[in-house]
């Protein structure tokens, strides 16, 4: 418990530092964002008025303070491109990204872990080469390209049929399920609307797969290496010599030990999921924070940029904290030994 509090404290310090960093960079940009937002034909009075409204005429420390106070209250300011409160936009787009990220993470673990174990346990040359090739390819493939490729290959008309939808989260003509979690997959199940569930799963499949490729490859690689390390260990030998079934040794005992290293990677991978989401969401027009963020960046909407950056940073840090906690649960030595 003390550990959690300490981590939270560190988190706050890092967030503050991050907000300073982003604020500084955003205020350093050349050109006037208000002028850009209002367009070339804006009259000076309009510019002056908007500048004053947005508080951009105040000294920098005051601006920073106002921004932080606002954030603490949940107000991220107003977008310079849509002129809507950013907090509102975030509330709409965040659940979509979280849903996608979690599904992608699930896919990468569910595919990466068994493949990693299998390529480690089967000692023949073929599975070894396949495993390594998959691992390397998965990490090297550019996400934007892969996303495009599967979008084309799996969604075009093949033999006269559309296999999977290419853009968006749900068809324009269909209604989203009543909001409980914000995740369409869960909400449609909760509403017992199975046809809707089937429908939205089609939309999420391709983006999730595209997002999962690289992490899956990393998980496969790391788990394989960890399992190979475990194989030489004494407890494996003893258990086997005393008659423990081999699949039990592999999937219960060895995997548990091997998983620790993979867990660290999963923490780092959250960072990849968030960053990769920016690209995947753009390619598939998935209405999430990533696509919102990219638009904000392309339009130089720096209120939105700051907001997205902070949310992303917070999410990443939260995910890493979860991973650290999971570590403790997984490995009893960390839980019970006093450092």
């Amino acid at each position: 418990m003390r550990f959690v509090v300490r981590r939270l404290g560190e988190l706050i310090i890092v967030m503050v530092g991050l907000s300073l960093l982003i604020f500084a960079i955003s205020r350093l940009l050349p050109g006037d964002p208000v002028r850009t937002a209002l367009g070339e034909n804006a009259r000076p009075e309009q510019i002056a008025q908007l500048t004053q409204e947005m508080g951009l005429d105040r000294p920098y420390p005051v601006q920073y303070w106002r921004m932080m106070v606002g954030i603490a209250k949940g107000d991220f300011g107003v977008s310079l491109s849509t002129f809507r409160p950013i907090a509102g936009d975030l509330a709409i787009f965040l659940p979509a990204s979280i849903e996608l990220a979690i599904l992608a993470m699930g896919v990468s673990i569910l595919v990466g872990v068994p493949l990693g174990v299998m390529t480690a346990v089967r000692r023949n040359k073929l599975s070894d080469s396949i495993g390594r090739a998959l691992a390397f390819a998965g990490v090297a493939v550019p996400v934007f390209w892969f996303a495009l490729m599967i979008q084309q290959l799996l969604a075009t008309n093949w033999a006269g049929m559309r296999w999977l939808p290419t853009v968006g989260r749900i068809h324009v003509d269909r209604k989203a399920p009543p909001e409980v979690t914000g995740a369409y997959l869960i909400d449609s199940l909760l509403a017992f609307d199975f046809s809707l569930f089937w429908h939205v799963s089609g939309f999420i499949v391709l983006p999730a797969v595209a997002l999962a490729v690289s992490p899956m490859a990393m998980i496969l690689r790391l788990l394989r290496a960890s399992m190979l390390d475990e194989m030489g260990k004494d407890y494996v030998l003893t258990a086997r010599a005393n008659g423990m079934p081999s699949n039990l040794i592999t999937y219960k005992y060895m995997l548990r030990n091997a998983f620790s290293a993979t867990l660290t990677i999963i923490g780092l991978l959250f960072g990849y999921f968030i960053g990769g989401a920016f690209i995947v969401e753009t390619v598939f027009s998935w209405p999430g924070i990533g696509r919102y963020g990219v638009r904000a960046l392309q339009l130089k909407d720096f209120n939105a940029i700051v907001a997205v950056t902070l949310i992303v940073g917070l999410g990443y840090a939260a995910a890493n904290t979860l991973v650290t906690l999971a570590y403790g649960w997984l490995d009893p030595r960390l839980r019970l030994q006093r450092k």
Partner: protein, 299 residues
């Protein structure tokens, strides 16, 4: 009795196995792992293409803003191996010249990241205390957001261009090297040879750089090789989103983005630049892995 035997025996111990040299290990590893060899070949190939790009590209002028509407959107043929794009430029030439851009970015970024990150990490670990803590806190701030997001933000806010891309990625990347150096130095710090140097009166700075640095080298070499691949990926992603190198530069990411509008008909516009990224990054990864085996086996 024993004399009769001594003349025939090699040593009293019995023959001892020979020691292996580093080159031998390298050749062995490459021989046993064809993947690493493939990686090496790819990397050398790409580097050569980048260096000699303008001379080997069949239509080097197409790397810029030239326009030739008569030849637009032609599929791959004998004249244009990779086809032509929407304004008639030869895709092969653009891919070849594009390699220069990607490798340039990677080179500069790695150099900056190493030159900034490694010394900072070493200093932070060796001197410890407030200075060390401060450096690592700053490090954590930079690491708090995923690299892509950070680089996107910096690049867009400063106005995307080649130098900005390099600066942005370097700002994100030094952190990993600082962290790596920090960790390595911390573990080496206690080693005896460092203590010996301290006892013999060498200054702290000198110890930090002369004794500890060489031990970082093998870890660094592997990481640098792998990182070149990742930086290329990052640069291409930026290009794809329009927040990296700007058109009409033949950067691979931009080419994929521009080609997107022509899908699925002019498939060659997205396929070849994307493949270029894939193969290049794969090559560096394979090589890096091979180096890992070689350098690891030596210890």
């Amino acid at each position: 009795m024993t004399d009769a035997l001594k003349s025939t025996s090699v040593l009293e111990d019995g023959p001892v196995s020979e020691r292996v040299s580093a080159t031998r290990v390298a050749i062995e590893t490459l021989r046993r792992s064809p993947l690493s060899l493939v990686g090496l070949v790819i990397v050398v190939f790409v580097i050569l293409v980048a260096i000699f790009g303008p001379w080997i590209a069949p239509f080097p002028e197409d790397a810029g803003a030239s326009v030739n509407f008569a030849k637009r959107l032609k599929p791959p043929s004998a004249e244009h191996w990779f086809g032509t794009d929407v304004v008639g430029r030869d895709v092969l030439s653009r891919v070849i010249i594009g390699s220069q851009i990607s490798l340039t970015i990677a080179l500069f970024v790695i150099v900056f990241a190493v030159l900034i990150g490694v010394p900072l990490g070493v200093i932070a670990a060796y001197f410890g205390g407030g200075l060390g803590g401060g450096i690592m806190r700053i490090n954590e701030v930079f690491l708090a957001i995923p690299s892509l997001v950070f680089v996107l933000a910096v690049s867009s806010l400063l106005g995307p261009s080649l130098p900005v891309v390099i600066i942005a990625i370097s700002l994100a990347w030094w952190t990993w090297y600082a962290r790596l150096a920090y960790g390595e130095v911390l573990s080496i710090k206690q080693e005896q040879f460092v203590e010996a140097a301290q006892v013999s009166g060498a200054s702290k700075m000198r110890i930090a750089f002369r004794e500890i640095l060489p031990n970082l080298t093998s870890v660094l070499i592997v990481k640098v090789t792998l990182d070149i691949g990742y930086v290329i990926l990052l640069g291409a992603s930026l290009g794809y989103l329009g927040l990296g190198v700007q058109p009409p530069e033949p950067e691979w990411g931009i080419m994929v983005a521009e080609g997107r509008e022509q899908l699925p008909d002019a498939w060659w516009l997205t396929t070849f630049p994307g493949l270029a990224v894939f193969v290049t990054v794969m090559g560096f990864n394979l090589l890096g892995d091979g180096l890992n085996d070689i350098l690891g086996a030596r210890q």
